[in-house]
């Protein structure tokens, strides 16, 4: 019952927060653990004892990882935004995501031992290998911006999954826009 209440409270809170986009809501829904800090990361499958949470029919295999920091879950902080979305067949970072990248750059320059993966994705339109290359270009765009802002290259790692791991499974323009993304994954 307490868990139920907690989940309802979390959903209500998530719905009320203006800065709260899809990804934050999913963060919140992922917070079933006693701790209220978490981070979205890719399922690692390397034997780590991590809790897995299903998101959007569990297609893309996300997990929540527990991190000893509250910075990332505060929805008012740009650091809580860890997904950067792109236009069709474009790897240009849109103006609205520059503050997000600046916030991560700031955090990473202050925490030089912290490393991240920049995971690039595309929507399903077009060919698979072209999409791998396109999604990598997106991750590279974010990489270069972070580098210019002082993040050391050894702190960052670029991975591209192309269209292989969609966030949203449908075929509408909205699904596609959710899938054209770079995820900033703290290690």
């Amino acid at each position: 019952m307490t868990l139920y209440k907690k989940v309802v409270a979390i959903i209500m809170m998530a719905l009320f927060l203006s800065a709260c986009s899809d990804d934050v809501l999913k963060d919140k829904l992922g917070t079933e653990d006693e701790s209220n800090v978490q981070n979205i990361g890719y399922k690692d499958g390397d034997g780590l004892d991590v809790e897995t949470v299903s998101i959007g029919e569990g297609e893309s295999g996300y997990i929540t990882e527990l991190m000893q920091s509250e910075t990332f879950s505060d929805p008012s902080s740009p650091l809580s935004k860890r997904i950067i979305y792109f236009e069709y067949d474009s790897s240009t970072v849109k103006q609205e995501f520059i503050p997000v990248i600046e916030a991560h750059a700031n955090y990473l320059t202050n925490n030089p031992n912290q490393t991240i993966n920049l995971v690039g994705h595309s929507d399903e339109r077009g060919t698979r290998e072209y999409n791998i290359a396109l999604a990598e270009q997106r991750a590279q765009s974010v990489y270069k911006m972070l580098q210019v802002l002082g993040v050391m290259s050894h702190q960052m790692n670029v991975i591209s999954y192309g269209e292989e791991k969609p966030e949203s499974l449908g075929q509408t323009a909205e699904d596609f826009s959710l899938n054209r993304r770079v995820e900033v994954v703290y290690q």
Binding site: G126, E136, Q171
Partner: protein, 462 residues
């Protein structure tokens, strides 16, 4: 107007077919009466996965050869099942090709099993062009198969085929016979003995997917998963001798190219650089792989020498360069690049010394091109107004024909005889495989029993 155009197309198609029939009659006269074929085929012992593909003709049958396949004579009771299976597979192959209309058993006026029993008028009355009769004799473990192809119009035998098979190779033998019959009538090789590779995905739980790389007969039978992973598998590519498959695997969370030997299941990692390791394509001599790497910060095409692992960088643009495919003579490499406006196909020397030449100008997006075996055609994905479709570019005329009608069609691959293209399309929320003739007139879906199927690649002819 559309109807009128369709009518013209049909008449043109008929003229082409008639031309072909006359040409084939000449070709056929060159055939000697009897061809002896002996194939002792080993049965496939590896585990067979019963997730079968089913061929389903969906549209567009134009003029067809009419053929009757009389149930074969059974000389021993123990061979009844195999005998029935062979006639059934030949019927399915020929009708599935879309080039033949196979007469229903109920419409047959007689059931000859020997040439001397054939009454040609029975088949002429039924409007048939050809007749296939045969018998199977069991000798020890071997099935001795004898099949005759007869021309109903000329009232004579075209060819007789003899082969031997074991229980495990009945299906293979039947496909072999279908190929022989197809070639005798159509003058070109059939695709019935060919194999395909493809990737499937299935949700194993709410959170996990299983990716599998399958090898199967062209009709989806004898499907064997040669690699399985919880992480994406991509871009399978057959070696020219059909003995190895190169593919991309994310099993270590990053992309990596493997080459796997089918007979042994052994595999080795051939590319594991920082960034993208993708799009493997075998050189026609099987000694090199063209691959896409982004280790220098941007996706470029490299040629990897498999013997000494040396790498040669072929493209140096700031743009995306990927999806390499060799010309059949090994001299050129076709690839997708975003160096112009959006994705387009380019061709360059396989030595990489000359500037690349742009090949495609129609459509907003042209990608993943590959050559037909004779080098005369290129099949690719072309997007027009947001619809991604299979298109064939005729190199001589420069003309492009759209072959599919989906919104997100993918991964086209030529059949070994260059007459059919296999590709992946979306149907009812699932990805399925589809076949289309290069004139775009004949279409078939290959249904998979579960999960999604994609990235089909036709094996080269052995």
């Amino acid at each position: 107007m559309r109807l009128f155009l369709k009518g013209i197309l049909e008449v043109l198609g008929l003229i082409l077919r008639l031309n072909k029939v006359f040409r084939d009659i000449n070709v056929m006269s060159l055939f000697k009466k009897t061809v002896y074929l002996v194939v002792f085929l080993l049965s496939v012992t590896s585990h067979v996965v019963h997730a079968e593909l089913i061929i389903d003709i969906t549209e567009g049958i134009q003029s067809q050869q009419k053929i009757a396949i009389v149930p074969f004579a059974v000389h021993s009771a123990s061979a009844k099942k195999e005998t029935e299976e062979i006639s059934r597979i030949i019927s399915a192959d020929l009708s599935g090709s879309g080039d033949f209309s196979v007469l229903a058993k109920e419409s047959m006026l007689s059931s000859p099993t020997k040439v001397e029993q054939v009454k040609y008028r029975h088949w002429a009355v039924a409007g048939q062009d050809y007749l296939v009769i045969g018998s199977i004799l069991k000798e020890g473990k071997a099935y001795k198969i004898k099949v005759s192809l007869l021309d109903v119009v000329k009232k004579q035998m075209v060819t007789e085929f003899r082969l031997s098979a074991t229980t495990g190779s009945i299906r293979k033998a039947a496909h072999y016979l279908s190929d022989a019959i197809y070639k005798s009538i159509m003058g070109i090789d059939g695709v019935f003995s060919s194999r395909i590779a493809y990737i499937t995905t299935e949700n194993t739980s709410k959170k996990q997917k299983q990716y599998s790389l399958f090898i199967a007969d062209y009709d989806g039978h004898n499907a064997v998963a040669i690699t399985k992973s919880k992480e994406p598998l991509m871009s399978p590519a057959w070696s020219p001798n059909g003995q190895h498959i190169a593919y991309v695997s994310f099993e270590n969370k990053v992309s990596e190219i493997f080459v796997q030997t089918l007979a042994t299941g052994d595999r080795r990692s051939v590319a594991k650089h920082k960034g993208i390791n993708g799009s493997p394509a075998w050189s026609p001599d099987g000694k090199k792989l063209a691959i896409t790497l982004s280790k220098s910060g941007n996706s470029d095409i490299y040629v990897l020498n498999l013997a000494n692992a040396s790498l040669k960088k072929l493209t140096k643009s700031w743009a995306i360069d990927t999806e390499a495919s060799w010309s059949p003579d090994g001299g050129s490499i076709l690839f997708t690049s975003s160096r112009g406006q959006g994705a387009q196909l380019y061709i360059m020397s396989a030595q990489g010394r000359t500037a690349a030449e742009r090949l495609t100008f129609e459509g907003d997006y042209n990608a993943r091109g590959s050559f037909s075996k004779d080098g005369k055609r290129i099949v690719m994905i072309q997007a027009v107004k947001g619809n991604y479709r299979v298109a064939v570019l005729d190199r001589e005329s420069g003309q492009t024909t759209i072959l599919s009608h989906g919104r997100g069609d993918e991964s086209p691959s030529f059949s070994p005889n260059g007459q059919v293209v296999i590709y992946a399309r979306r149907k009812a929320g699932k990805e399925i495989l589809s076949l289309v003739s290069i004139d775009g007139l004949k279409k078939q879906d290959i249904k998979h029993t579960s999960g999604s199927v994609r990235e089909p690649v036709w094996a080269p002819k052995k």
